[in-house]
């Protein structure tokens, strides 16, 4: 299979995973996807000979998102959005507002925990597959999943007034460079 055929067929799905991994910033997601695809393109004969290219690219995406986030934070090149950067539009339904809030809470998680949740609940990987993808143990995946879900639960259960005020909800922390939780 040619590299171009693969990108034409799978770039949409890969972009969606990348979007969730970087907190729905489209420019960052596209950049992350380019990094992962360039890596695959560089080794394409080997990738296509010995592995499913999609699995290869997704693994790079998941790991590069954590690594990338560390580098971005360290360099302080990008202004970090607050966990709840803006109020929910008042004319939206409560359901959509909660969805947006949940996704913001997801974006505010440490990158390792975010990657675990995206792989587990968006890409539908098992705990073992997620561990293999991220290069960590199944135990780490389990603990990271539990911690991340606790934080999300606390966030969505926070009083609605806190959300509208744009305050960080309980359990949601800013993204810290030192808090990754996933081995590269």
């Amino acid at each position: 299979m040619a590299f171009e055929e693969f990108v034409r067929a799978r770039s949409g799905s890969l972009l969606r995973t990348a979007l969730l991994l970087v907190g729905q910033n489209r420019a960052e997601a596209e950049d992350l996807l380019q990094v992962a695809l360039e890596h695959a393109y560089r080794h394409w004969p080997k990738v296509i000979r010995s592995e499913e290219p999609e699995r290869y690219v997704r693994r790079i995406l998941a790991n590069a998102s954590a690594d990338r986030w560390r580098r971005i934070v360290r360099r302080a090149e990008h202004a970090m959005p607050a966990a709840c950067p803006e109020a929910v539009a008042p004319d939206r339904t409560a359901e959509i507002a909660e969805r947006d809030y949940l996704l913001r809470a997801l974006a505010a998680l440490p990158p390792g925990q975010r990657a675990v949740l995206v792989l587990r609940y968006f890409d539908d990987l098992t705990e073992g597959q997620t561990a293999q993808m991220l290069g960590c143990s199944v135990g780490t995946v389990k603990s990271q999943t539990a911690r991340a879900l606790d934080r999300l639960r606390a966030a969505v259960d926070a009083p609605a007034n806190d959300r509208r005020a744009g305050l960080p909800a309980a359990g949601i922390e800013p993204r810290y460079a030192s808090e990754v939780g996933v081995d590269d």
């Binding site: 299979m1 080794h43 597959q129």
Partner: protein, 411 residues
């Protein structure tokens, strides 16, 4: 699944499922990024060469001097100053040979004399098109199917039908069905292939698969063997099977005796194999590619650097007699695996080519090189070299509207 898990899953899909990529733009951007990466590597290589002065370069040149190569650009892994196009003699007028190309949803043979493409029949129309792999004596085509019953393609999925196209044939014939990804491997004898299947579509590919040697017409030639777990099919070598370890780095291969059900050897960084040979490298800084003959059990070192097997493009002729390889300088060379003589193909080192594919055709009697720009205007080049030729023959070709991609067997 708990409430929060369900809500998270719904939220992610509701918000993201409508997002689409722009694949053509993405391909162009990835290739641009790749060219920048290569240019950066070249710059680093020059600086490193200056910093460490001459000992390593001298050692490298000495190694090649025995094969008739004088000091040149070999040690400096840079493409600066090199031409952007292949150079050689013009292809003789009327010189006709045919190369396999993908056309729309099928395949055909492109003639260098008439510039026309003759379609290959026997390949049913499928939405995803076909992928092609080189096997001993011809090509195997299999439908591209991205759907999988398991996430991230970790399970076997439904079997797919493989088709065989012998060199120059206008008809594809069904071989049989097998696992879509690593479901077929070249047999050690011409006209044979190994087909790989799993017990169920939902079986994880790390579980044991079944492999059976069949003729390219689909007739079984032996029993079904159960492969060791965690290994994927690469191909037949001698009376053995070369298997890839299904692990994160994918650099370890094993030579497995199906009759005795035991591994008889391990090889790192395999870059090619033939009916009798395995080309591999230990992958260390000063390592060279090595050739192991599984019939004799002997291993010899080649003059080709093997320190970065990941970036080493190499392909063996069907009979394993000739190894075409892209050296660190970018130049193509052909190694005679019997005499270990290395023939450098002048005019093949290009300055940051957008792509340069090469592969053996006609059994191993012709090395085909295809080069051209990936994006932007510019003609493609088709070139060939045959054993005994002192020169390279090059032709500029227009890309027919119905030709999507030329197959060299090395991609």
């Amino acid at each position: 699944m708990t409430n929060i898990e369900q809500r998270l899953r719904s939220a992610m899909h509701d918000a993201i499922d409508a997002e689409e990529a722009a694949p053509e733009e993405l391909i162009a951007l990835v290739k641009r990024r790749h060219r920048r990466h290569r240019a950066q590597l070249a710059g680093v290589a020059v600086l490193a060469a200056l910093a460490i002065a001459t000992p390593a370069a001298i050692a490298l040149h000495t190694g090649f001097a025995a094969f008739g190569r004088g000091p040149s650009t070999q040690a400096a892994s840079t493409t600066a100053g090199l031409p952007s196009k292949l150079s050689g003699l013009p292809m003789p007028a009327g010189k006709n040979f045919e190369v396999l190309v993908t056309t729309g949803y099928g395949a055909g043979w492109y003639s260098t004399a008439t510039h026309a493409t003759r379609p290959i029949t026997g390949l049913p129309t499928v939405a995803g098109g076909y992928q092609f792999g080189r096997v001993n004596g011809g090509w195997v085509a299999s439908p591209i199917n991205y759907s999988s019953p398991c996430p991230v393609n970790r399970c076997a999925g439904p079997p797919t039908t493989f088709y065989f196209i012998s060199e120059g044939s206008l008809t594809a014939t069904p071989i049989g069905s097998g696992y879509a990804q690593n479901g077929v491997g070249s047999g050690a004898r011409a006209g044979t292939v190994w087909l790989v299947n799993y017990p169920r579509a939902t079986t994880n590919i790390s579980a044991s698969a079944f492999a059976q040697l069949v003729s390219t017409a689909g007739h079984p030639l032996g029993p079904r063997y159960r492969l060791p777990a965690n290994y994927l099919m690469e191909g037949g070598v001698g009376s053995y099977l070369l298997l890839n370890l299904d692990a994160n780095n994918y650099v370890n291969s094993a030579l497995w005796d199906p009759r005795a059900n035991r591994v008889v050897g391990h090889f790192d960084n395999v870059v090619g194999h033939s009916p009798e040979l395995i080309i591999w490298s230990r992958g260390c800084q000063r390592c060279q590619l090595e050739i192991t003959n599984v019939a004799s059990g002997k291993t010899v070192a080649t003059p080709i650097p093997g320190r970065h097997p990941d970036s080493l493009n190499a392909t063996l002729s069907d009979d394993g007699r000739l190894l075409a390889v892209q050296l660190p300088s970018g130049e193509l060379a052909v190694l005679n695996t019997v005499t270990l003589s290395l023939t450098h193909l002048a005019g093949t080192a290009l300055c940051k080519p957008d792509f340069e594919y090469f592969g053996w055709q006609n059994g191993g009697h012709r090395l085909l090189v295809f080069s051209g720009p990936n994006i932007g205007p510019g003609a493609d080049q088709l070139a060939y070299w045959q054993p005994g030729d002192s020169q390279f023959y090059v032709e500029t070709i227009r890309n027919p509207s119905d030709m999507e991609q030329l197959q060299t067997g090395s991609q």
